[in-house]
C-alpha cells in the first residue's frame, strides 16, 4: 500500500506524456532524374565478335553484272522484279540522326543523306523516288529486320565489317566516316584516350559500342536505342561524352551549340547499304547504280545538300 503513491505518480506521468503526431513524414524529397527508355549501363564488355575470316576485306562488294536496266523494267525473276511487283521499296532508315536520316519536325517527313540515297534506289527501280516505304529502325534492329525480310534494304549509317558480312550483304562504300567524340564545350576531354572511367553514350548494336568498349582507356559505355537519346543524356548531365561516327556527331552538334567534336578519327567507318544475304542480284544492281551516282555528280549534289562541300566519292572495291 505504501507503494500506491508511487504507482499513482507513474500513471499520472504516463498520462501526461506527449502524444506524437500520426502524420507521415515528408517522403520522396530526393530528385529522381528522368532517363530515356531502355538505358543500359554496360559494366561488362559486350560479347566478343565472332572471328572473321582472315581474308575478309569488308569494303569489297559484289561486282555489277552489266549496265542498269531501265526503270520499271527489271529482269524477270530478279529480286528487283519482286520489289517492282510489290509496288514500293521498303527501306530501313533512321529518324534520329540529324542530316543523315531524320524527321523534319515542320513537315513530319523523313529527310537526310541516307534518305536521299534510298530514294535514288527507288528511282532506279520504279522511275519514281516516292515509290518507297520507310521503316524506322534502331541500330540494333537493322540486321534482324533484314534477316526476317521486314525491309528490302537498310540505308542507315551502317558500317561494313566482316562480322556483319556473315549475316547480310553490303553494297560498295557510299560514305566514309570515322568515329570521334562529342563533349560539352566546357569539357577538358580531348579525345577517346581521356575518357577513362567516364560515362560515354552509344546506341545498342552499333559498331561504335564495340569500339568504345574496346578502347584502351576503358570508358564506361552507356547504351540507348537512338542517337538523339544520347544528346538528351549529355544535355541532362547523365553522361560525359558521346562517341560515334563524325557524321552523326556533326548532326548532334548542329542541334546544340554548347557541344564540340574533339580528337582525331580513331576508327574508319565505311558505310554500305545492307541487303538480305540471299539478294546478291540486288547488291550488284545497287553497286551499278552507285557507280552511276558517283560518276554523274548525283552523289556530290546529295552530299552538298546535307553535309557541305563534297570530297571525292569513296572508291568502289569489288570481290567479284
Amino acid at each position: 500500500m505504501r507503494r500506491l503513491p508511487a504507482v499513482v505518480l507513474v500513471l499520472v506521468l504516463a498520462a501526461c506524456a506527449p502524444v506524437p503526431s500520426g502524420a507521415p513524414p515528408i517522403g520522396g524529397g530526393s530528385a529522381v532524374p528522368p532517363r530515356p527508355a531502355d538505358v543500359v549501363e554496360l559494366t561488362a564488355p559486350p560479347s566478343a565478335p565472332a572471328v572473321a575470316p582472315a581474308s575478309c576485306d569488308p569494303t569489297a562488294s559484289l561486282r555489277p553484272t552489266g549496265p542498269l536496266p531501265a526503270p520499271g523494267q527489271m529482269p524477270a525473276g530478279s529480286t528487283m522484279a519482286k520489289i517492282q511487283a510489290h509496288g514500293r521499296l521498303i527501306v530501313g532508315v533512321d529518324q534520329n540522326s540529324y542530316l543523315m536520316g531524320f524527321r523534319n519536325p515542320f513537315s513530319g517527313e523523313l529527310e537526310g543523306f541516307d534518305v536521299d540515297m534510298a530514294r535514288e534506289v527507288a528511282r532506279a527501280i520504279f522511275g519514281d523516288p516516292g515509290a518507297i516505304q520507310f521503316k524506322v529502325l534502331t541500330s540494333e534492329e537493322r540486321i534482324p529486320a533484314l534477316e526476317e525480310r521486314r525491309v528490302d534494304i537498310v540505308v542507315r549509317t551502317m558500317t561494313v565489317n566482316c562480322e556483319r558480312w556473315q549475316k547480310v550483304n553490303f553494297s560498295t562504300v557510299y560514305y566514309q566516316a570515322g568515329q570521334r567524340v562529342l563533349v560539352p564545350s566546357n569539357s577538358d576531354v580531348t579525345g577517346i584516350e581521356s575518357l577513362g572511367g567516364r560515362r560515354v553514350c552509344v546506341t545498342k548494336g552499333s559498331s561504335s559500342l564495340a569500339n568504345v568498349a574496346a578502347a584502351p582507356s576503358r570508358p564506361v559505355p552507356v547504351s540507348v536505342p537512338n542517337w538523339t537519346d544520347c544528346l538528351v543524356m549529355l544535355q541532362q548531365g547523365q553522361v560525359d561524352a558521346i562517341s560515334t561516327d563524325d557524321t552523326i556527331l556533326a548532326g548532334l552538334a548542329a542541334q546544340d551549340p554548347y557541344t564540340k567534336v574533339v580528337g582525331p578519327q580513331f576508327t574508319a567507318e565505311p558505310y554500305g547499304m545492307a541487303f538480305p544475304k540471299a539478294d546478291e542480284d540486288f547488291v550488284r544492281f545497287v553497286n551499278a547504280l552507285l557507280e552511276r551516282l558517283r560518276a554523274d555528280g548525283t552523289w556530290a549534289s546529295i552530299h552538298r545538300r546535307w553535309l557541305g562541300a563534297p570530297p571525292a566519292p569513296p572508291v568502289a572495291v569489288y570481290r567479284d
Binding site: 514500293r88 529518324q95 524506322v136 542541334q255
Partner: protein
C-alpha cells in the same frame, strides 16, 4: 488486514440484506433499469453514429477522393496522348491540342492537390503521391524542352518527348493507378461499413425491452397491480427508439446496396475511359515510332480488348453505354484503316485517318467515345452521390433521438419504481 476483511464482510452482508427485502429489490431494479436504459441508449447511439460516420466519410472523403484519383489518372494519360498527337501533326502543334494539353496538366495538378490533402488518412499512399507531385513538373519540363527543340527543327525534340512519355508510362501512370486503387478500395470499405445489417442495434433494443417486460411481470407479482404507468411509458419509448433505429438503418442498408451498384458502374466506366485514353496514346505513338512501333500496337490491341470488356460489363448496369459501344466500333474500324494504310506504306493517309477531322476518322470516333463516357460517368456519379445523400437523410436526427429517448425511458422507469417504493415508507 483483519479489520479490513471484517469491514468488507459487513458491506457484503448489508448488500445481501438489502437484496432480500422487497424495497431493497425494488431499488436495485430501479438502478438496473436506469443503467440498462442509459447503456443501451449509449451503445445504440454509438452504432448509429458509426454508420453515420461511414456515410460521412463516403460522401465527404472516399467518393470525392476516388473521383480525384480518377481525374489525376485521366488527365495525365490524356496529356501524354495529346502531346504525342501534337508532335505527330508537325512541329508546331495546333492551338486546340495545346489547349487540351494545358487543360489536362491544370486538371491533373488540381485533382492531385485534392488527393494529397488527405494523405494523413492513407499513409500508404505517401510514395505514390510524392511520385505524382514530384514528377509531374519534371514531365511538363521535358515536354516544353521537346517543344522548344521542335520549334527549331531539331530531331532531339522527339527524343525529349520519348523521355517524357517513358516517365509518364513508367512512373506517373502506375502511381496514379495505385492512388485510384486505394481510394476506390476506401469507397468499397465505407459502403460496406454503412451497409452492414443493424444486428447490434436490434439485439440491444430487444434486450432492453426484455428486461423491461421482466421487471413489469415481477412488479405485477409483487404488488398486484397489472400496469405500472412509468414502466409502460419506458417500454413504449424503448420500442419507439428501436423501431426508429431499425427503420433508419434499413433505409441506409438499402441505399448502400444501391450505391454499391452505382459505385461499381462508376469504377467500370472510369476504367473504360482510362483504357480509351491509353489506346489513343498507343495509336498515335505507333505512328510516331514509324515502323518500330510494334510494342505500342501490341499494347493498343490489349487495351482495346479490355475496353470492349469493360463497356460490355457496364451495359449490364446502365443502358447509357449503347452509344459508347457504337462509337467504340467506329473507332476500331478507323483504327483498322490506319493500320492498313500504315502497313502498306501509305503513311500520309494513316496520319490523316488517325488525326484528321474526317467524320469517319479515328479522332472523331475517339472524341465521341470519350464524351459518351464522360456523360455516362457523370450520370452514374450523380446517382451514387444521390443514393449516399438519401442514406444520410434517413439517419438524420437518429443519434440525438436515441439519446433523448434513452434518457426519458430511464426517467420513466425511475418514476414508475419510485411510486412503488413510496408505499414502503
Amino acid at each position: 488486514m483483519l479489520v479490513e476483511a471484517q469491514r468488507n464482510r459487513g458491506a457484503v452482508r448489508r448488500v445481501t440484506g438489502l437484496a432480500r427485502s422487497t424495497p431493497g429489490r425494488l431499488s436495485l431494479l430501479a438502478l438496473l433499469l436506469i443503467v440498462l436504459s442509459l447503456l443501451v441508449g449509449a451503445l445504440t447511439a454509438g452504432a448509429v453514429q458509426r454508420r453515420s460516420d461511414a456515410l460521412e466519410a463516403l460522401a465527404d472523403h472516399s467518393e470525392p477522393l476516388a473521383f480525384a484519383a480518377q481525374e489525376v489518372y485521366r488527365a495525365m494519360a490524356d496529356a501524354d496522348a495529346t502531346a504525342s498527337s501534337a508532335f505527330l501533326s508537325g512541329g508546331v502543334e495546333s492551338a486546340d491540342l495545346r489547349r487540351r494539353y494545358e487543360a489536362d496538366v491544370a486538371k491533373a495538378a488540381a485533382a492531385l492537390s485534392v488527393a494529397t490533402s488527405e494523405i494523413i488518412r492513407s499513409p500508404e499512399l505517401t510514395t505514390a503521391l510524392s511520385t505524382l507531385s514530384g514528377q509531374l513538373p519534371v514531365y511538363t519540363g521535358l515536354v516544353e524542352t521537346a517543344r522548344a527543340h521542335n520549334r527549331q527543327g531539331n530531331p532531339v525534340g522527339a527524343a525529349y518527348l520519348r523521355e517524357a512519355s517513358t516517365l509518364m508510362r513508367d512512373q506517373l501512370l502506375p502511381a496514379a493507378r495505385e492512388l485510384y486503387r486505394v481510394e476506390n478500395g476506401d469507397v468499397v470499405r465505407d459502403l460496406g461499413g454503412a451497409g452492414s445489417l443493424p444486428w447490434l442495434e436490434f439485439l440491444l433494443g430487444v434486450l432492453a425491452l426484455a428486461v423491461l417486460v421482466f421487471a413489469q411481470r415481477y412488479l405485477t407479482r409483487r404488488t398486484n397491480r397489472v400496469f405500472n404507468p412509468g414502466l409502460v411509458v419506458a417500454t413504449a419509448l424503448t420500442a419507439i427508439s428501436l423501431l426508429w433505429v431499425l427503420a433508419a438503418s434499413l433505409v441506409v442498408v438499402y441505399s448502400a446496396s444501391a450505391s454499391r451498384n452505382e459505385a461499381t458502374l462508376v469504377d467500370l466506366l472510369a476504367r473504360a475511359r482510362i483504357a480509351t485514353l491509353t489506346a489513343r496514346g498507343d495509336e498515335t505513338l505507333t505512328l510516331v515510332a514509324r515502323g518500330s512501333g510494334a510494342a505500342y500496337e501490341a499494347s493498343y490491341v490489349e487495351v482495346d480488348k479490355e475496353l470492349g470488356d469493360l463497356l460490355v460489363r457496364s451495359r449490364g448496369l446502365t443502358p447509357k453505354v449503347e452509344e459508347a459501344l457504337e462509337h467504340h466500333e467506329q473507332w476500331q474500324q478507323a483504327h483498322r484503316r490506319v493500320r492498313e494504310a500504315d502497313d502498306s506504306g501509305d503513311y500520309t493517309t494513316a496520319v490523316a485517318v488517325a488525326l484528321g477531322r474526317d467524320p469517319a476518322g479515328a479522332a472523331t470516333a475517339f472524341d465521341e467515345l470519350d464524351s459518351d463516357l464522360v456523360d455516362a460517368i457523370g450520370a452514374a456519379r450523380a446517382e451514387l452521390t444521390g443514393a449516399i445523400g438519401r442514406a444520410r437523410a434517413g439517419l438524420g436526427g437518429a443519434v440525438p433521438g436515441v439519446v433523448v429517448l434513452a434518457l426519458l425511458a430511464a426517467a420513466a422507469s425511475t418514476f414508475g419504481l419510485w411510486q412503488r417504493l413510496k408505499e414502503y415508507r
